[in-house]
């Protein structure tokens, strides 16, 4: 563990862990849009910017994104300096112009004193903030069904060639992780549709609940030697089965003490 200063308060943190963790642990709130604990930090939304300095830098400070900057011994972190707050405002102002109708962005902007963007609102309002969480979670699972396409102002999230993505397994991770809930999907006991691709559902052999798609079961089956049947059983039933097994084992060993 190392010691660093956040807004004048001395805190301890794991060396090399993202500064953001230490900041949040210290009870300081800073907004983020592209960060998720389960995924590699990405540094795209720029909202978690902070000023860092050291005594030996003689007053010089640099602005870094706290989701990626590693916690170091003796670091002095300021999360709300004038230029940090101003830059955050510029970013939110720009995002509000892009997504004028998105509640999450409206709320964040309002919290930073922006009621209306100083730029003309997007004539084609979108809820997608291009935070990249959907594509990153998809890559992380190992599916690689969607990605960002095109560059710059034309950047968007899409399956290859804007067609139903052949690799998609319908797991909904992208939709679940999306902070603005802008990836539409439909799911029922029989079918699930996302990215214009429709999947058959698998029913849990024990309780009959439709909980994953056949494509998901097929994708997971055989991984690390785990058979398909394991994934076809729903989580609740798996837990129940596990509980039974444990209680049997403990009964055989003389009961729970």
């Amino acid at each position: 563990m190392i010691t660093l200063t956040i807004n004048g308060k001395t805190v301890r943190a794991r060396e090399g862990s993202p500064l953001l963790e230490a900041i949040r642990a210290a009870g300081v709130e800073i907004p983020t849009l592209c960060h998720h604990e389960a995924l590699e930090p990405w540094g795209g939304c720029r909202l978690c910017l902070v000023d860092v300095t050291r005594p030996e830098w003689k007053g010089w400070a640099k602005m870094v994104v706290s989701c990626m900057y590693p916690a170091e011994e003796g670091l002095i972190v300021q999360t709300h300096t004038e230029r940090v707050v101003e830059t955050r405002k510029v970013v939110l102002d720009l995002l509000l112009a892009r997504c004028p109708e998105t509640p999450l962005i409206q709320k964040l902007a309002r919290e930073h004193g922006i009621e209306k963007s100083s730029y003309p609102p997007n004539p084609e309002p979108t809820d997608c903030i291009l935070c990249g969480l959907c594509t990153r979670v998809c890559d992380h699972i190992g599916v690689f069904a969607i990605s960002s396409v095109n560059r710059g102002a034309g950047r968007e999230i899409a399956p290859p060639f804007h067609e139903a993505p052949p690799d998609c397994i319908g797991c909904l991770a992208c939709a679940e992780v999306c902070p603005t809930s802008c990836i539409p999907y439909e799911t029922s006991d029989a079918k699930r549709t996302i990215w214009n691709k429709t999947f058959e559902m698998v029913r849990c052999p024990t309780c009959g609940k439709a909980h994953i798609t056949t494509a998901q079961a097929g994708f997971y089956a055989g991984r690390n030697g785990v058979p398909r049947s394991y994934f076809e059983t729903c989580d609740a039933c798996k837990r129940r089965e596990m509980a039974h097994t444990f209680s049997k084992l403990s009964a055989g060993a003389g009961g729970v003490r």
Partner: protein
């Protein structure tokens, strides 16, 4: 012959020199991309054919050679005769027999092919007497235009790999780094990081596997120095990289070349094959036991891939997007291994530095910027092309003495350096010495050496908009300030040039620029406001004219500019023919008239009028005149 010892290296050089002893005369035909586009391939073939037909090789020892870019692309195809040093410009295949009959056989000059000095209007005979060349000092480009890039022997005869031999046979890696350190060499890609510091860090970094990379993704509009080096003297790049690899202890390297440079890829690939066969690259280099090999990685044409982290991602086979890194590439770069990335020109300097010593290099330049620097001089100057000069040369010297001044002797307005990351400097900065610090202080930057000269018919608002349009296309779009910021910035500029500017626009531009500068992920976004802020700093009145008076002082923004013909019109009809909108009428030898309703404000008439009888004025005046009931300006 594989060179596997010091003696063999000396023998190889002697052999290469001896092979050229029969070359009593040489005809050098520039086959750089610029000259090729002007048809130099046909010229070279015509020379080779005629020389063969006439048996001049055996007869008088006349040899022809296809070389890399001579730099004076404006006048291509270029042909140089050696040893006389006569330079012929704009040579066509039909001139070939004449050149052989007169100049080669009798020593007579052909005046119409000679270069004419625009200042004195007199033809200049010799290559080295032309101001464009006379004022240059070439280090990185030392052999370009002299050697056949496809011939290793020719390169060896001109001193290639002598620095490598010295490094490998006489110096330890630490000594190599010390020599480069004493030269004061800084990154020629534009940021100006001290090269030796990078090498030292990578040498110290833990890890068995280390990489040495060459950045050949030159993407600034108007910049082409790296292309010319890779095309014209690929061996200088290879030599530098092998020396660098030896210094940091790397065994693998990549040259990242943009795919728009096919000739560079061909010449590099050929040079690498020849160097490998000769024992100058690959396993057991020069028999010293040192292994280092290079692969070429071809970029897909994304400007942002010139940024180091994006370049490395691209080589790794991932999407070429920058990655925020708070660890230096010298510790964790390509494939998370210690990596040294240098620009093409930096690598080309290294061999010469080792060969001649760091002190020799450091003797040129300014206090903090040592040595020479290559620039692509383009825009409204008389002599456009590729130049190399000691650091600290003034912009005035570059533009007026080497560039020959402004085209058509119009007034100078600004010079843009550093590409989309750089800025525009006005006349008051013409006497600034060109070095890293001075350019940055002035609000521009060294960048990759593009230098775009602009005359009075340049609208600075429009120039800033041009770079914004470039960047909107080239931003990867990963981070919000760059992606959304550039889009909104361009929208403001689109309004400015269309007469929709509003009070407060300047403040909005400044605020957004500050946000992008502080908030963007990589240098592309951080430096994107430079063209905006530098034009705002030096040409604020032009912005105000666009906003307050809806006027473009340079007469470039079409929506703000109208043209009319003055009483002094002689009725020559040239403008009438040039007008693409058929907006001009008039009888021969009578005053012509522009019909405002049809005029598209393209300015074609203004450009061609031989008597300067056309003037431009703010379009807003037309409406004012109409309102005043005077019937309009036409």
């Amino acid at each position: 012959m594989r060179i596997d010892s010091r003696e063999r290296f000396g023998a190889a050089v002697r052999e290469a020199l001896a092979g050229r002893e029969g070359h009593k005369m040489e005809i050098l035909v520039c086959c750089g991309t610029g000259c090729l586009a002007n048809g130099s391939q046909k010229v070279a073939e015509a020379f080779a054919e005629e020389v063969e037909k006439r048996g001049l090789k055996a007869g008088v020892g006349l040899f022809t050679k296809k070389t890399g870019c001579h730099g004076f692309c404006e006048r291509g195809p270029l042909v140089v005769l050696q040893p006389s040093g006569v330079l012929y410009t704009k040579v066509e295949p039909r001139h070939v027999p004449d050149i052989l009959d007169k100049t080669v056989a009798k020593g007579e000059l052909i005046p119409r092919l000679l270069y004419k000095d625009p200042a004195t209007k007199k033809p200049v005979e010799k290559y080295e007497e032309i101001p464009f060349y006379k004022n240059q000092t070439r280090v990185a480009m030392r052999n370009i235009g002299k050697i056949d890039p496809a011939d290793l022997g020719d390169a060896l005869a001109h001193g290639a790999y002598a620095g490598l031999a010295k490094a490998l046979f006489e110096m330890t890696p630490e000594q190599v780094i010390a020599e480069v350190e004493s030269s004061g060499l800084r990154g020629r890609g534009g940021a100006g990081f001290v090269t030796a510091r990078k090498w030292k860090a990578a040498r110290k970094a833990a890890g068995e596997r280390k990489f040495v990379l060459c950045n050949g993704d030159e993407g600034d509009p108007g910049a082409f120095k790296d292309r010319s080096i890779m095309e014209g003297d690929p061996h200088s790049v290879l030599e530098g990289m092998v020396i660098g690899a030896y210094a940091v202890g790397a065994h693998e390297g990549y040259i990242y070349v943009r795919d728009e440079y096919p000739l560079a890829v061909v010449h590099l690939t050929l040079a690498m094959a020849q160097a490998r066969e000769a024992g100058l690259l690959g396993r057991d280099i020069l028999g010293t036991g040192f292994d280092f090999d290079i692969r070429i990685s071809r970029g897909g044409g994304a400007f942002v891939c010139g940024e180091s982290s994006a370049l490395m991602r691209s080589i790794e086979g991932k999407t070429g997007e920058p990655r925020q890194k708070y660890v230096h590439a010298t510790e964790r770069g390509l494939f998370d291994c210690p990596t040294v990335l240098n620009n093409v020109e930096t690598w080309a300097d290294v061999g010469a530095i080792i060969q001649n010593g760091g002190a020799w290099f450091a003797a040129m330049g300014t206090e903090k910027s040592k040595g020479t620097k290559a620039f692509s001089l383009v825009g409204k100057v008389k002599n456009t092309g590729l130049i190399e000069l000691p650091m600290g040369t003034t912009l005035r010297h570059i533009i007026y003495d080497i560039g020959g001044g402004i085209l058509g002797d119009r007034p100078f307005k600004a010079v843009q350096t550093g590409g989309p990351s750089g800025g525009c400097l006005p006349e008051s900065h013409l006497d600034d010495p060109v070095d890293y610090e001075k350019l940055t202080e002035a609000g521009s930057m060294m960048g990759s050496g593009g230098m775009i000269v602009m005359d009075d018919r340049t609208c600075m608002v429009d120039v800033a908009r041009y770079f914004l349009r470039f960047l909107v296309e080239e931003s990867c779009g990963k981070c919000v300030p760059c992606r959304e910021g550039l889009k909104q910035m361009l929208a403001i500029y689109d309004d400015l040039v269309a007469g929709r500017g509003r009070p407060g626009d300047i403040e909005r531009i400044e605020r957004l620029s500050a946000g992008m500068r502080l908030g963007s992920l990589c240098e592309l976004g951080k430096s994107a406001p430079n063209p905006v802020l530098s034009t705002l700093r030096y040409f604020r009145d032009e912005y105000l004219a666009h906003i307050e008076r809806k006027a473009c002082p340079a007469g470039i923004c079409r929506d703000l500019t109208a043209y009319e013909i003055l009483e002094s019109c002689e009725g020559c009809g040239v403008c009438l023919k040039a007008c693409p909108a058929e907006a001009i009428t008039g009888e021969k030898k009578a005053l012509h008239v522009i019909h405002q309703g049809k005029c598209i404000s393209c300015g074609a008439c203004y450009e061609v009028c031989p008597t300067d009888a056309i003037r431009f004025f703010p379009k807003a005046e037309l409406a004012e005149a109409a309102a005043a009931g005077r019937g309009g300006a036409s």
